[in-house]
Each structure stands twice: as C-alpha cells, then as structure tokens.
C-alpha cells in the first residue's frame, strides 16, 4: 500500500465514520459531550494523520472503559437509550484513533453504517438526510479505494471523484424511487423513529395560577394540512378559511383549589383501539391531516366541529368531560387524519355529560370575586345576561403574560391589577359563573394558529396555548372566552419568513418521508399522472431538448475520447496513408510499435516517433491533432 492510497483511504473511511457520528448527533437523546469527543478525535486525526493513533489494544481498552462507564451510568439511573448512544459514541472515538490498518478501515465502515442505522431509530430530524447522502458518497469512494489496494503491480488509482458524480446523482434518484416503491407492512414496533417527548410550556392539565411568568414559546405542537395533495391555490385558500380560528380542545379542569385548577379524575366513556375509526358525527367534512408532536401528555387536541378521526394510530379513550387521550403519551410524532365540520358546529358539546357537583362548587371562590361579580352583574336579567356582562368587562382589561400575580390569592390579585394571562381570565369567568349558580369549568387547549403561506398549512405552537371557560346554560355546555383580543397579536417567532420555509421543509419531510404509507404511493402516482397530463406536451418538448443536448455533449466527449487515443480519428488515416506510401501496411488491430520500419526512414528516428506517438496516444503527453501529426511525419 503506497502512502498516497493509504492516506486517501484513511480519510474516506474516517468520513464514513463521521457520517455516523453526525447522524447520531441529531438525536435529542445524545449528549453533546460524547459526540464532540468523537468529532474532536476525528479532526485531530485529520490534522496530525496516523501520528495521532493508538495501538489496537489501547483502542480496545478505551472501548472496554466506555462499556464499564456506561454500566455505571445505568446504575446511576441514566436512561438506557441515552447510555446506549453514549457507548456507541465512545466506541466511535476508539475506532477513530485506532492505528490505520486494514482492520481499522473495516471497523470504521462497520461502525459508521451502524451509527447511521441507530440514528434512524433515535432521531426523526430532517437533517438526517445529509449524513445519509454523505454516507452514500463516502462509502462508495472508500469501497472503491479499498478495492484498489494491494493488487499485483501496485494499487489501482481510483477514477477522479468528479467522474463519480453522475453515478451518485443516479443513485440518489434510484434510492428515492426504491423508497417509494417498496411495500409497507403495518407492523409497528420499538424501531419507529423516536423523539423525546417535549415538555409542554403552554398547555397543561394542571394549572397553578401564580407562577405564570412566561416567554412566548414558538415550539411547534401541531401542523395541520389538507389531507388531499396537489390542491389548487383556491382550494388551499378555502382550506385556510375553514381551518383558521378554531379552538383545539385539550383538557377540562373542574376542581378549583384556590390557587389553580385540577383535572377531575374522569371516567372513560368511550374507548377505541388502534386503527379504528373514531366516528363522533356522520356526514362529510373538511379532511385535514394533523401532525402531532410527541409531548409529555397524552391529550389529542380536538378541533371545533370534529366529525371523525380515521385509523387512530394509537389506542385512545374519551372522558365524560370531553377530553380525548391516548392510553399513554406516544413516543413519536403521530399523523391524525381528521374530518371536520364547520367552525360553528356545536354538536361535539352534546357528547359531554351534564355537570356534576364539582362543576358547581363555590367552596373556594374568593369573597373578592363574589363582590366584583355582584357589582358587574347588577341589574342583569338572567345568568346568561350576567355572564355576558362579566365577559365584556374582562375583555376591557389588559392581557399581560408577566403580570405580578400573588401566588397565595391569585384571583384577588388579578382583580386588583386587572391584567394577566388567559388562565386568569378563564378562571375568573368560571368562578363568576359558579357564583351566579351556573356550573362551569376551565378548558385548556390551543386557539387559532399561524398560517404558513409557503407550505400552505397551519402551524400551532406552544404560544397558541389557551384557556377558556365552558358553562352549562340552557341544558348544554357552552364556550365563553373572556381573554382580550390583544393576546393574539403577540408572537415569539423571531424570523417569520425563514421560519415559514423551515417549517415547510420539516412538514414535507414528515409528510413524504417519515409518514409515507402505502396509500401515499397511489396518491403520488395519481398526482404524477395528473401533472403529466397537464404538462405532458411541455415535458415532451423539454425532454427532446434535453436528449438533444445530452447527445451533443456525449458525442463531443466521445470525440475527445477517441482523439485522446488516436483511434479511428482523422489521425490514423493520415498515418496509414503515409505508411503505405513507404511500403508498410498496418492492420487495424496492429499497434504502431509492431509495424515494420517504413522505407527511407532511419530506425532511430522511427522508434523515437513511435515512442512520442504512444505517449500522446496514452495520455502521457498532449494529444496531437492532424496538423501536428503531419509536422512530426515531415520531420521524419
């Protein structure tokens, strides 16, 4: 193995390993310390070369130390998945600094590929595609280099990287086609791409009113897009009109503790197993795909007018309070296919049970609030009119996320400063209703969302978390929202344009890669066929142009190729004619070296000419054109 080939192979196998480390670094389960160690070792190896290396024994000792260290981590209570990734990265570091032998090259390739495969389960980031494509490139080049080593006659010189580029492009295209074409089987397991369950900062099923001092959190909770692909601009506008401005109902909180709200231990009234149809109401509706991020709670956010959910991805149940939850918080992103009625469709409220004593309890209602209610509702004809006055009054107050609320008596504090966040408004209204004898509760969920113009979908973030009130009036539950409208002008997104593009990329990744299903293939084929019918003639025209261009480029390349080797180019007939004039006949298969010395030509000069000819023909010198050949022949 010569040093140049060795160095090239060393760099390429290192690159394969680094692709694995990079892909695993995308996982939220991986500690940055561990992947930084591997990257640092890799950089040092690149900089210092094989001088920065340990013997195989020393490297294996690092691996064993890593094993025991991870065992200790597990004993100390670290999650097994985190400990496992730590071990993989320690192993990668050991392989990086192992002495550069043939075995080390294989170690690197194997570990690199294994890390990429492990990352396929430990992350669902869109950035995963970069290390994957890089792996394809470096693995190909490293394999070519490894194949070329140690042949009799010396190492083979691999073709320049740029000549492999078209192959790589074709491979990426073919990989995409294979991805689409391969069958999917509906067998779910632990090998699904996982993501850490996000801690919710807005939505909650337990409210402490006093500790509310928050920044607006732009973390995405849900993305909602039309189920049907390939909609026209008008259809997308119509979808936007229908999907925006809906309440997404999460949990209802009925037990007031004086300082906050607690969920009442509800009884499940309905239960659905996986892949079942959740049908609440009949009738066709707006079809929407909701991508729910993995979070630390199990609630399914129910939009206004929900009619049904197709093929429930996990078992779920609905409580008497109208909260729908998965049996346990899912560990990965889920796609819920919902069918929605109109925004004002109130039929869902009729599925909820009538209030019980907890919904009417006034036990812990502060006296200050009762006084305030009696002042505000003085002269109201009925409870509905009284509640309307309360709502109007609250709407005139100031929305403030960072209002200094007394944690001991938050409601009285809110009433005195008249500024606060939505949970305080919802709480005040709910308690006011109870003091008026109307059963009520606070509901936590999301409202509205942000429309993404680039991708044509709705994004619901933590900042859209919201609290409102439900009251029992006229024999059914009704929603009242006392939060001032100024709340919805606030946003925590710093660069909305960039964010819109990035969110579109992410949703496309989820939609077309992570959540790609059997049914999508048919839809894709249909869409492709429609596009083909629409743009068929243009495509044929451009295809012909492209083919002509390619043909031209190819023929030029071919001409250059043959010119380089002087084979069947204009040069050979010139030479053959010249030879025949001097009594020599060259057969088509005959190299010039085997042709007899032409008449009247000195042998020395002839062999010098043959040598020069071969040098230009085999690329060791600049190729001759016809004029140069004639000049050389005249010189003979």
């Amino acid at each position: 193995m010569n040093s140049e080939s060795s160095l090239r192979t060393e760099k390429l196998t290192l690159a394969v390993l680094m692709c694995g480390v990079a892909s695993l670094a995308l996982s939220d389960f991986v500690s940055p310390v561990y992947w930084s160690l591997s990257v640092l070792a890799g950089l040092l190896r690149l900089w210092l070369g094989p001088r920065f290396s340990l013997s195989e024994l020393q490297a294996s000792m690092i691996g064993w130390l890593g094993f025991f260290w991870v065992g200790l981590e597990l004993a100390l209570g670290r999650a097994w998945i985190v400990a496992f990734t730590d071990f993989l990265l320690i192993l990668a570091m050991a392989v990086v600094i192992e002495a550069p032998t043939a075995r080390n090259h294989l170690h690197r390739m194997l570990v690199g590929v294994f890390l990429v495969l492990a990352a396929a389960v430990l992350t669902d980031s869109v950035l995963y595609v970069f290390p994957l494509i890089a792996l394809m490139w470096f693995m190909w080049r490293a394999s070519v280099c490894l194949y070329g080593l140690n042949w009799p006659g010396g190492d083979l010189t691999p073709v320049p990287a740029k000549r492999d580029m078209p192959t790589m492009f074709g491979m990426a295209l073919l990989a995409g086609l294979l991805f689409v074409a391969m069958p999917r089987f509906d067998v779910h397991s632990l090998l699904q791409p996982t993501q850490p369950r996000k801690e919710t900062s807005g939505f909650s099923d337990q409210v402490q009113l006093g500790d509310f001092a928050r920044e607006l959190d732009a973390t995405v909770v849900m993305r909602v897009e039309p189920m049907q692909a390939g909609l026209s601009a008008e259809q997308i506008k119509a979808f936007r009109r229908q999907i925006e401005g809906r309440y997404w109902r999460g949990t209802s909180l009925a037990r007031f503790t004086g300082r906050g709200w607690q969920r009442q231990g509800g009884v499940s009234i309905r239960h659905w197993s996986r892949n079942r149809e959740v049908e609440l109401w009949p009738g066709p509706g707006l079809e929407a795909a909701v991508y729910r991020e993995a979070s630390d709670h199990a609630y399914i956010q129910i939009p206004d007018g929900l009619l049904r959910i197709h093929q429930l991805p996990e078992p779920a149940a609905m409580s008497a309070g109208g909260a729908m939850t998965f049996d346990r918080p899912p560990a990965h992103r889920l796609r819920l296919q919902m069918e929605l009625g109109g925004r004002t469709d109130k039929r869902f409220f009729s599925t909820m049970h009538a209030p019980d004593s907890v919904d009417s309890s006034t036990e812990l209602v502060p006296a200050a609030l009762k006084r305030w209610v009696s002042e505000v509702t003085r002269g109201a004809a009925d409870p509905a009119g009284a509640l309307e006055r309360v709502v109007d009054e609250l709407h005139s107050w100031t929305y403030d996320l960072n209002a200094s609320i007394d944690a001991v008596d938050p409601v009285s504090s809110f009433l005195s400063i008249k500024r606060g966040h939505c949970e305080l408004y919802a709480t005040t209204l709910a308690l006011a209703a109870r003091s008026l004898g109307v059963p009520s509760r606070v509901v936590n969920g999301y409202f509205g969302g942000q429309w993404n113009d680039v991708g044509g979908f709705l994004v619901i973030r933590e900042q859209h978390a919201h609290s409102w009130t439900e009251v029992w009036l006229n024999g059914r539950w009704q929603r009242l929202d006392a939060t001032p409208a100024s709340r919805w002008s606030l946003s925590g997104v710093r660069f909305p344009e960039i964010d819109a593009i990035w969110e579109t990329v992410k949703l496309s990744w989820y939609r077309y890669v992570l959540e790609f299903q059997e049914s999508d293939r048919t839809a894709l084929a249909k869409q492709f066929w429609q596009q083909l019918r629409t743009y068929g003639i243009k495509l044929v025209f451009f295809g012909l142009l492209l083919a002509l261009g390619l043909l031209l480029v190819r023929s030029m390349q071919r001409m250059r190729f043959w010119q380089r080797f002087g084979f069947s180019t204009p040069s050979w007939p010139v030479l053959d004619r010249w030879l025949s004039r001097r009594g020599c006949v060259r057969q088509a298969y005959q190299p010039l070296r085997d042709v007899a010395v032409p008449m009247g030509i000195s042998e020395n000069h002839w062999y010098e000419f043959v040598q020069a000819w071969e040098m230009q023909a085999y690329g060791a010198a600049r190729p001759w054109n016809r004029r140069e050949l004639k000049r050389h022949l005249r010189a003979l």
């Binding site: 193995m1 032998t101 075995r103 294989l106 495969l117 990352a119 389960v121 669902d124 994957l132 792996l135 394809m136 190909w140 394999s143 070519v144 194949y147 080593l149 140690n150 042949w151 006659g153 083979l156 010189t157 073709v159 000549r163 192959t167 074709g170 491979m171 073919l174 990989a175 995409g176 294979l178 991805f179 391969m182 999917r184 089987f185 067998v187 632990l190 090998l191 699904q192 791409p193 890669v513 992570l514 959540e515 790609f516 190729f561 043959w562 380089r564 080797f565 009594g583 020599c584 057969q587 088509a588 298969y589 005959q590 190299p591 007899a596 042998e603 020395n604 062999y607 085999y618 690329g619």
Partner: protein, 341 residues
C-alpha cells in the same frame, strides 16, 4: 484487495461458511453470472437485516437506509456490467504471432470507454491450451498483461471468453461469457538457420561474395566478425539487436530471395521433423518480411514484401499439415530450398 473480513479475525467456521457462500454463482442474464466476495457476503447479510428491520418496523428512515445500501449494490453491479460489456476484445492484442511452446509476454494498452479502476481477468480455452490475461483498468484505458504459452501450432478461434471482475467495490464477482470472433495464430517455434542460396539448406553456410549485400538480425552462432558494429553502436538506444552483414556477389544483389518448402512428409520422417521444417520457414519469413522475396509453401506462393501476403503466409504456416508422400513411401525429401528469382 485490503478489504477482507478475515482481517476482522472472524472465527474459522464463519470464514469457511463465507467461502462456501462465495462459491455460489447465480445467473443474472444470458451469459452473465454474479457471485459474492467475502466482504460482499457480509454486506448483503447486513442489507437483508436492514430491510427486514424496515419491513417489520415500518420505520421509513430504515427504508431510506436500506434503499441507499441496495442502490450502492445495484450501482456496483451495473458499473461492473458496463465495464465488462465495453471491455475491449482481442483486436487490440497481438495474438497473431504466438509461437508454439514459447512464452509470449503481453503488455498492451487499449482504450477503455468505461472509466473504472478495476482488475479484469480474461480466460479462454481452446485446443492450444488454457489462457489467462489480466486487464488493469484505470481512467480511460486498460493495460493487458499476462503470459501466453500455446501448446500446439495452428489457427484457433478464440471462441468463448470468460471475463471476470469484482470492480468497482469488490463486493460482487461478475462473470461474462462472450464469444469472440478473433483468432489466435500459433506459429511453430522459430528455428534460426542459415541457408546458402541455391542449395539444400541443412547446415550449410551462406555463400558469400566480396561486398555485403544487406543486413539481417543477429542469430546466436553468427561469427562476430560479421556483426555490423557501427550499426549496433547507433542502435544502443533502441530495441534493435545486433545486425549481421550478408555478403553476395554484385550480380546477385538485384535478385529477390525465394524459399521453397516441400511439405510432403516421407514415411520415415516424424511430425517433429515437420515442425522443425515449418519453424525454419517461419524464421525465414520473419527475416524477409517487408523485403522483396517469395515464399513457396507447398502449392502456395506468398510475396514477403506485401504485408497482407505475409499475414496469409503466417496463417498458412500455422495451419500447415503434411502433404501426401509419393507412392511407395520414398517421395521427396522434407526440404527447404532457398534460391533467387
């Protein structure tokens, strides 16, 4: 190839298992077969594992990984097939002047359209023996190398050629069997000799004149006094060997040499003598190739100045069979006669 899983210190039974697997060659298309190398076996096992995990889990990222690995394998097979399909035939190789029982070292460049770094093995078999050449491919050209040692004289079609390569990744062993229309011309072993003009050849020296007529290549046994030393000194840089002066009287220099070969084999003579006779004829043809002269081989006459005729003469010598002896087994002597026209 520094790519062997044996480097991983796998247990012996596993290596034996891998070796058993790599002996399997599956048909790919008419004329094509594909097998696996040791690293190829490991790669394919890994590929099956990833696909199984993808099918079982429905994890689309595993589908992507498996697609990428599968595409790498497919691209390797396709590039290997493209290489073998566009691999130059025997037209570029000097197979026309092989000699029986003589080793011919081949080292010949040829253009290669497929730009792949690869080693290709070419194997073929015919009545002259089993032959193997290696093609070392780099960007744009291939270097053929190997040694050919035909066992028998004759004109042989190349016939079925087996091309084999593990390029470009060393994972798959591709084998293409294709028919070549080229032929091998195996000449008899050249037997240097010197014949005197107008005389039965065997063992006679050249009948010389006072002035040297022309030059011929040096043959071991030539007197050193006849070597053209000035020419030899000027040829030091080239591949030419020494040349020897041939003398003749002034009147003969304008005459073209002629060799008549009687191919009839008298009864007491064996095949060996016939081969020797052809070897001498072949030597004579080499000496007079490209010059004025005539070779009469049995009933056929060839002009040595005409390259096409020389090629025909070579084929005729290679394909020569002994003629019928005269009745009674006496016949003419197996003979060469060099004279002038």
């Amino acid at each position: 190839m520094a790519y062997d899983p044996a480097d991983l210190r796998l247990p012996g039974w596993l290596l034996r298992f891998l070796d058993a697997l790599i002996r399997i060659n599956l048909p790919l298309a008419p004329g094509w077969r594909v097998g696996l190398t040791r690293p190829g076996v490991m790669f394919m096992l890994a590929l099956f594992g990833v696909w199984a995990a993808a099918f079982y889990s429905g994890n689309n990222l595993l589908y992507l990984c498996a697609s990428v690995l599968l595409v790498i394998s497919l691209a390797a097979v396709m590039q290997g097939m493209r290489l073998l399909k566009g691999f130059p035939g025997f037209e570029a190789l000097p197979l026309a002047e092989l000699e029986r029982e003589q080793v011919r070292v081949i080292r010949q460049f040829a253009p290669l359209p497929a730009g792949v770094a690869a080693m290709v093995s070419m194997q073929w078999r015919n009545a002259a023996g089993d032959f193997e050449l290696n093609g070392r491919c780099t960007a744009g050209h291939v270097l053929f190398s190997g040694r050919l040692r035909p066992a028998k004289r004759g004109l042989y079609g190349i016939g079925l050629v087996s091309l084999q390569t593990e390029a470009p990744l060393g994972l798959f062993r591709l084998n293409l069997k294709r028919t070549s229309g080229s032929s091998m011309v195996v000449m008899p072993a050249s037997m240097p000799w010197q014949a005197s003009v107008g005389h039965v050849a065997e063992g006679q020296g050249l009948r010389d004149g006072d002035e040297w007529r022309d030059l011929r290549s040096y043959v071991p046994g030539d007197p050193l006094s006849r070597v053209h030393w000035r020419k030899a000194a000027s040829n030091v840089q080239s591949d030419q060997f020494w040349t020897v002066k041939r003398f003749a009287s002034g009147g003969e220099t304008s005459e073209a040499p002629s060799l008549r070969v009687d191919l009839r084999l008298p009864a007491p003579q064996d095949e060996g003598a016939f081969e020797q006779l052809l070897g001498k004829a072949w030597y004579w043809l080499q000496q007079h190739r490209g010059k004025q002269g005539e070779l009469v081989l049995g009933q056929q006459a060839f002009d040595t100045a005409d390259e096409v005729s020389v090629q025909q003469a070579m084929s005729a010598i290679a394909a020569c069979v002994p003629g019928q002896a005269a009745s009674g087994g006496e016949g003419l002597l197996l003979s060469l006669f060099e004279g002038v026209r």
